[in-house]
């Protein structure tokens, strides 16, 4: 496989579940500082692509290169250490822990068993947690049990848990699902801010939101790329209108 300048280079990626190809010889390249949005009808393989990148699902064929590191051979935690962060579709936060503890657990130190036993809340850790909490609009909720947050706040918290690891590739699966209009606006601002210095890959259905944040849009359909380009081009593509936007 070739050496590339892209942060993320997916080549000929295929995964089949009992003969059904959820992702079919996919090629996708994401640049540094780029915010890419992947759209497509249900069952197009969007979430599966994220699963493949973060190691949750193993690829049948093809390669995923992140900064020229082959990810398909790494285990989940190694992929995270390489610099890939992933937010799940439904907010995955630790409901029993406070907002502060949620962020602390995600702090990228003390990842080993003994490291975590020896981990201390230093000033550095504390400052970083508060900094991130302010960024995700949860600065005033640090001591609140995460279960009590609103749905939108939970989404932010999970984004914050990724930000604290400062990943070079951030993958967000439907980050504004279940958010109010105001929360969507805030999230759009947040995403614009955080994509500086890293690549962001977003799956989203809300076209208005997509138009607001996307640098480039990829349309997936039946595991294959249907169209790719800026929002304007994609929205006017007859094939896209037929399978996705027309509905």
């Amino acid at each position: 496989m070739s050496i590339t300048d892209f942060t993320l280079a997916i080549e000929d990626l295929t995964v089949s579940f009992d003969g059904f190809k959820a992702v079919d010889s996919l090629n996708l390249y994401v640049d540094k500082d780029e915010l890419r949005v992947v759209i497509g009808p249900n069952g197009a393989g969007k979430t599966t692509v994220l699963d493949l990148i973060c190691g949750k699902t193993k690829a049948t064929e093809g390669s995923i290169k992140f900064k020229n590191i082959e990810l398909t051979r790494l285990s989940e935690h190694q992929i995270v250490h390489a610099g890939v962060g992933r937010k799940f579709q439904t907010p995955s936060i630790y409901e029993n822990l406070s907002v502060y503890e949620n962020l602390e657990v995600s702090y990228p130190k003390g990842h080993s068993v003994f490291g975590s036993l020896a981990f201390k809340r230093t000033v550095e850790v504390d400052t970083r947690i508060r900094e991130i909490a302010d960024e995700i609009f949860l600065g005033d909720f640090l001591d609140m049990e995460a279960a009590l947050l609103s749905h939108g706040q939970k989404q932010w918290l999970e984004i914050g848990m990724l930000l604290i690891q400062d990943p070079e590739l951030l993958m967000l699966d439907e980050p504004v699902a279940g958010m109010s209009v105001k929360e969507r606006e805030q999230t759009a601002e947040l995403l614009k801010k955080i994509c500086k210095g890293r690549s962001v890959l977003v799956i989203e259905h809300d076209m208005e939101f997509v138009a607001r944040i996307a640098h480039k849009v990829t349309v997936l359909h039946q595991g294959k790329i249907l169209a790719e380009g800026d929002m304007q081009t994609v929205q006017n593509d007859p094939k896209v209108i037929e399978v996705y936007l027309g509905h």
Binding site: C54, K56, S75, E76, H77, V80, H81, G85, R86, F88, S92, I93, Y94, E95, N96, L97, E101, E104, V105, S106, P108, G110, H111, S112, V113, S116, L117, A118, F119, E158, M161, Q165
Partner: protein
């Protein structure tokens, strides 16, 4: 200082809890009970080790092991092997056809000490073995389960199967293990008679001391980032994994620690009760340990000690008078815990106990104030009548 206060004692509430427990097991029980009953309490407290280990593993880690009896038993057997060898010197066993080996081996036509018994002539080796053998065993089980991401009910069933297998193995290999009777007739530890009254007192206190130590160890683990990770894993394992942690390593570690803690309890059991048998290894004792933890409150290191004491005291009391209904009662108790007070005694205490005490305190204040007013009034009346 701060470390000790925050991390080991667990702040003000934790410190009070430990102080009350320590007062109970170090002062109140030894003063209030005769030696026979105290020895019985000492036996119960050895089960408390297993219950504490289940707080870490099950309460916080969410990993239900129905095989803690395996580790309790392994610890107990290691200690029993040493004591048995000491009790089987050639002089005492001269009537055997092969003097110098444990009596049950002789009955089973063994003519030499098996190789794996040899190192148990050394007390140092035995102490290390008590800690290490169950831990290695737990590591093997944990590694093969957790690396394959076996968890939940499957893990519970497998641990239960292991408990059964080990019991069958011990019973079947009579010549090497003492079979169904276990290893009995243990007398001395490095020449010190463990059956004497003074020894029983000393062993009780060593046991109590170790138990408090184990609670401190549990506190230390739970108040670290590791403890928060345990809770996080119980809640959203995938999130932890995709936050860059190798989840299986954490599970293996806590499983090994819990095995080691249970094993210490097992070794202390052998010392205090004077024998070890497969009936403390199998499924029934393993499940009983889970019940102790559930009744005491599986999220409370201190609560489970009370849970263990109460259930065992109940067991002893009821099985003396109504042996046939005790098992039903215990089953009913377990169902009640699961359905009505899932956080056990510790949960009830947090919810109602503190209020109750506050109430009693206030009541006392009220009566005291009333009394003072009354006194004043009668006093006044008294002076007035003068």
């Amino acid at each position: 200082m701060n470390f000790v206060y925050e991390r080991l004692l667990g702040g003000k509430n934790g410190a009070i809890g430990i102080a009350i427990l320590a007062a109970l097991i170090f002062i109140i029980l030894p003063v209030g009970l005769d030696l026979f009953r105290l020895n019985l309490v000492g036996k119960y407290l050895t089960y408390a080790f297993a219950a504490v280990s289940l707080v870490l593993l099950w309460g916080y880690g969410g990993i239900l092991s129905l095989g803690q009896g395996v580790f309790f038993g392994l610890g107990g057997y290691c200690m029993a092997m040493f004591l048995k060898l000491e009790a089987s010197d050639p002089v005492t066993t001269k009537i055997q056809s092969t003097p110098g080996i444990p009596d049950f081996m002789d009955w089973n036509q063994l003519t030499a000490l098996p190789w794996f018994w040899e190192p148990f002539n050394s007390f140092t080796f035995t102490v290390i073995a008590v800690l290490v053998v169950p831990t290695i065993f737990a590591f093997i089980i944990g590694y093969s389960m957790f690396k394959r991401r076996v968890g939940g009910v499957y893990f519970a069933i497998i641990t239960q199967a292991i408990a059964l297998i080990l019991t069958v193995l011990i019973v079947g290999q009579q010549g090497y293990t003492g079979g169904i009777n276990g290893i009995t007739d243990l007398r001395t530890l490095n020449g010190w008679d463990i059956r004497s009254d003074s020894a029983k007192y000393i062993l009780y206190f060593i046991n109590a001391f170790l138990l408090i130590g184990v609670i401190f160890l549990g506190r230390f683990i739970l108040t670290s980032k590791f403890g928060r990770l345990l809770l996080a894993m119980r809640d959203k394992e995938d999130r932890v994994r995709f936050s860059g942690y190798d989840v299986s390593n954490f599970k293996i570690f806590i499983f090994c620690i819990s095995a080691m803690i249970s094993a210490v309890g097992g070794a202390m059991f052998t010392l205090q009760v004077g024998f070890m048998s497969p009936s403390f290894v199998g499924i029934v004792p393993s499940i009983e340990m889970v019940i102790f933890a559930a009744v005491g409150g599986r999220m409370s290191l201190i609560g489970v000690v009370y849970g263990t004491l109460i259930v065992n005291a109940g067991k002893t009391a009821f099985s003396e008078s109504f042996p046939e209904i005790w098992l039903f009662l215990m089953g009913g108790l377990f169902i009640a815990v699961v359905m009505y007070f899932p956080n056990g005694i510790a949960g009830l205490w947090d919810k109602h106990g503190k209020k109750l005490i506050g109430c009693i305190m206030r009541m006392q204040c009220v009566t005291a104030v009333k009394g003072m007013i009354e006194n004043k009034r009668t006093g006044k009346i008294g002076t007035a009548s003068k």
